[in-house]
């Protein structure tokens, strides 16, 4: 790029940045309180819309002037809806409130905004260091994280491009446009960035391959087809900071020489689709996309394609087929998509997190990025830690942190005094690891070695009440449903795996089933074309490897040690504990299986019981009389009194 051109780019961008700065300063310096509300899907699901409405109504009612700032998601799902109130006149720093429902919103408006009392019993922490209120960065859930990709998530309004620009956004694109494509690719290669979609292919290498193909027309695709049930970081990033992804895509397109880019988002993420579409429009209006970006010779159009929900479309060749309008079935590689991809054009497909990592890398330099994480896998990993864990949500940590730190220190461990049993990493393609692996550092290679997989970054923590056979059955049910049907081994093999596992969970296991599962799994791995089939048996193989005794208990003793497989358990009431006259369980039972005995205690009609466990949940803790046993024939017999006539 010539120096005159560079000057023109700077001029164009400076004008935009000035406008953004003006808007930010105006908002920041306005002498009124600011209310920041997290409004991504998870916040909305927990009631953020009602919270926002309650704030608006209360502000009206008490006649207070304040600004409401809708932001994305901080990743603290356990605390949703999250509200940060910045009320400078009160003398307090900005305060983080958790689980703010409509009632709390009204109360805070009256007591804090009007009367200046922050209600310490509802405060979670302060957003700045101060003498009075604990700073959130003193909590492990905050300070053990290292935010690169999600740095701005939850602080900026995803629907306002100026908010992103004022926070330093798009300045890296300006920087990139002044570099040559080779310089950018070299920097990305030096940073050691590896694709965050699961396989961990070096990103810079992929870009180089695409750049060096002789073809004129090239395409960049951002893969946001997050199909793993239990992983939702791609959605959160698109909903909380879409411009960082767009900026990363633009840099990638410039580096490889593409003029067309597509974001492939699942249609099941309606909010993400809306926000990304809006973000692209805003960027185009400011000249950051479209013809001659910022007055340079680089053109870029980004379209949104809504994926219709097929797990296999996360695989790149299947994703391409799906955009072309066919059934999303993977094909043989080579030729790789970087050689022959969408409409036979060279196509670079990168995950949302990969592309969102690019702006910070170019901004701070490859050496800065290399210092985060491990030697082989620099950078950060984002996990959605869910299941039986106290502080569930999204966590971005440097690669190489141990599972123990992640689960126990950052996420607060297992709730209800239960014991840790296993952690499932990588969704349906990943595996279950037991406590022996808690000190394993997390990166691509160590997880693959342990038999699991980084995959999408979904992490489900399981406590002692989770049956590993049942969990394997669940994942196989999922992959069997999602198998595209192309390879016989995957299509029929996963069906039989599922049937065997279903038999085990029903208590109909036979001698030799474990061996059968193992050989079948190995065959499926060997005989499948794409990642779905190659990894589908992972949950079975790892759970057999680390929890073999559970499989054996299911087969030989017809017993479910975790008391989870419903055909193998039975409920009963401990008559010594059951209280006379309490009817909690009988009222809650959805099938009227609970009856009252002749001495006014309770019994379970095993014929009617559907084993939902509701009686156990509602039984008052002071009695705690409901018991589960496995195998079901151990249940003590409790006499059911003859039915009375209703007319009596």
């Amino acid at each position: 790029m010539n120096p005159a051109g560079n000057e023109k780019i700077d001029q164009r961008f400076n004008a935009i940045y000035k406008e953004a700065e003006k808007r930010r300063n105006e908002f920041r310096d306005a002498p009124v309180p600011k209310i920041h509300i997290g409004m991504a899907t998870c916040g909305i699901a927990s009631g953020a819309l009602e919270t926002k409405k309650a704030f608006e109504e209360a502000l009206d009612e008490y006649n207070i002037e304040a600004r409401i700032h809708t932001v994305g998601c901080l990743g603290h799902c356990y605390a949703e809806p999250v509200v940060v109130i910045d009320h400078p006149d009160s003398g307090f720093p900005p305060i983080f409130y958790h689980e703010v429902n409509a009632g709390k919103a009204k109360m805070l408006t009256k007591l804090f905004l009007k009367e200046g009392d922050p209600r310490f019993e509802h405060v979670y922490g302060a957003m700045e260091e101060n003498d009075l209120i604990p700073w959130v960065m003193e909590f492990a859930r905050f300070n053990r994280e290292k935010r690169v990709v999600m740095e701005k998530c939850g602080y900026i309004d995803p629907e306002d491009i100026y908010d992103y620009i004022a926070a330093g956004g798009y300045s890296t694109l300006v920087k990139a446009l002044k570099l040559s494509p080779d310089e950018i690719i070299k920097e990305v290669q030096n940073s050691g960035l590896r694709g965050r979609g699961g396989a961990g292919f070096p990103t810079g290498r992929k870009w180089e391959l695409a750049k060096n193909t002789g073809e004129q027309e090239k395409i960049v695709i951002c893969n946001a087809d997050e199909g793993d049930p239990g992983a939702y970081m791609d959605r959160t990033i698109l909903e909380s900071n879409p411009h960082q992804v767009i900026e990363g895509m633009a840099i990638c397109a410039y580096a490889v020489g593409a003029k067309k880019a597509i974001i492939y988002v699942r249609a099941e993420y309606p909010l993400a689709v809306t926000i990304v579409t809006k973000a692209i429009r805003q960027a185009r209006e400011l000249g950051l996309l479209g013809e001659s970006v910022l007055g340079s010779s680089f053109d870029l159009e980004i379209d949104v394609f809504r994926g219709s929900g097929a797990f296999v479309c996360g695989e790149e060749t299947a994703l391409i087929r799906s955009i072309e309008g066919y059934r999303g079935m993977p094909r043989h590689r080579p030729p790789y998509p970087v050689q022959k991809g969408l409409w036979n054009k060279p196509t670079v497909i990168n995950n949302v997190k990969t592309l969102a990592s690019v702006p910070p890398i170019l901004d701070h330099g490859a050496d800065w990025y290399r210092e985060i994480g491990t030697q082989n896998t620099p950078g950060t990993a984002i996990f959605s830690v869910v299941g039986n864990v106290v502080h569930a949500g999204l966590v971005e940590i440097p690669m190489g942190v141990s599972l123990r730190t992640l689960i126990f220190d950052i996420c607060g461990g297992i709730p209800n005094n239960k014991k840790f049993k296993a952690v499932q990493i990588g969704g349906p393609s990943g595996g279950c690891l037991n406590e022996d692996f808690l000190d394993t550092p997390i990166d691509f290679d160590s997880l693959t070695e342990a038999g699991a997989m980084m995959g999408s970054g979904g992490m489900v923590v399981m406590d002692e009440d989770t049956c590993m056979v049942e969990v394997s059955r669940y994942f196989l049910d999922f992959t069997q449903n999602e198998s595209c049907g192309k390879c016989t081994f995957c299509r029929i093999g996963t069906y039989h795996l599922l049937k065997i596992l279903e038999r085990l969970t029903r208590g109909e296991g036979e001698d030799g089933d474990i061996e059968l599962l193992e050989t079948l799994s190995k065959d499926i791995k060997a005989g499948s074309l794409c990642g779905l089939g190659k990894t589908a048996p992972n949950p079975v193989l790892t759970s057999i490897k680390y929890f073999r005794e559970e499989y054996e208990a299911h087969i030989y003793e017809k017993r479910c040690p975790a008391l989870m497989c419903r055909p193998m358990i039975a409920f009963y009431f401990d008559l010594d504990l059951c209280a006379r006259g309490c009817d909690a369980c009988a009222t809650a039972c959805p099938v009227e299986a609970v009856f009252t005995t002749s001495n006014r205690k309770k019994g379970v009609d095993q014929e009617l019981c559907v084993k939902c466990g509701e009686c156990m949940v509602v039984c008052p803790p002071e009695y705690d009389a409901v018991r589960k046993v496995s195998p079901p024939h151990l249940v003590p017999h409790i006499e059911k009194p003859p039915e009375k006539k209703k007319e009596d």
Binding site: A45, D228, A231, S308, G309, S384, G387, G393
Partner: protein
């Protein structure tokens, strides 16, 4: 697949047919078109598939083949109150399957079906993205977290009561007016 279209659906189908003109006759447009049709009709009736296949000049079987491959497309009309039960990993571990079973038992239908009066339909979905609230069910557009079997009954009862109250208000209005 289903039989007759309701008058409103016929109207919507006409609307769909007129909108097809804005899509170029390219294979790549098949999925966006099907998505558009489902937004208008809330499912893909046989008649709509025929219209799409004629527009793109590909076989009906081909259109049907693509549509059935993806989870998004429905071939039955959804109920007035669609119920979606999340069966993502976190919901499953916390008993999402039991919630689904309860809905099925209460309404007497299986997932993927609609009650004969077209009031309710049940679907299972993989992860709606609020795993911290597991188990989760969505009725109409509202997300209900921390579901329990007794909550299922309560939610359905509430819809019944609301319906009854509306009915009474309508009768009252009519008799007054």
């Amino acid at each position: 697949m289903n039989d007759e279209l309701t008058p409103e659906e016929k109207e919507a189908l006409k609307d769909v047919a007129s909108k097809l003109g804005s899509f170029e006759k390219q294979r790549g447009n098949l999925i966006p078109i099907l998505q558009m049709v489902q937004e208008k009709l809330s499912y893909l009736p046989t008649q709509a598939i025929k219209v799409v296949s004629e527009h793109l000049e590909i076989f009906e079987s081909e259109v049907y083949g693509v549509a059935t491959f993806y989870n998004q497309f429905r071939f039955h009309p959804p109920g007035k109150h669609p119920i979606k039960v999340c069966l993502g990993t976190a919901c499953h571990v916390r008993g999402g399957g039991i919630i689904l079973e309860n809905f099925e038992r209460k309404l007497g239908i299986h997932y993927g079906q609609t009650t004969p009066d077209r009031e309710f339909s049940i679907e299972k979905v993989a992860c709606v993205g609020c795993c911290a609230l597991a188990p989760v069910a969505i009725i109409d557009e509202t997300v209900h977290g921390h579901m329990a079997p007794s909550k299922v009954e309560g939610l359905l009862m509430r819809i019944e009561i609301e319906k009854e109250m509306e009915e009474r208000a309508r009768i009252k209005d009519e008799s007054c007016g």
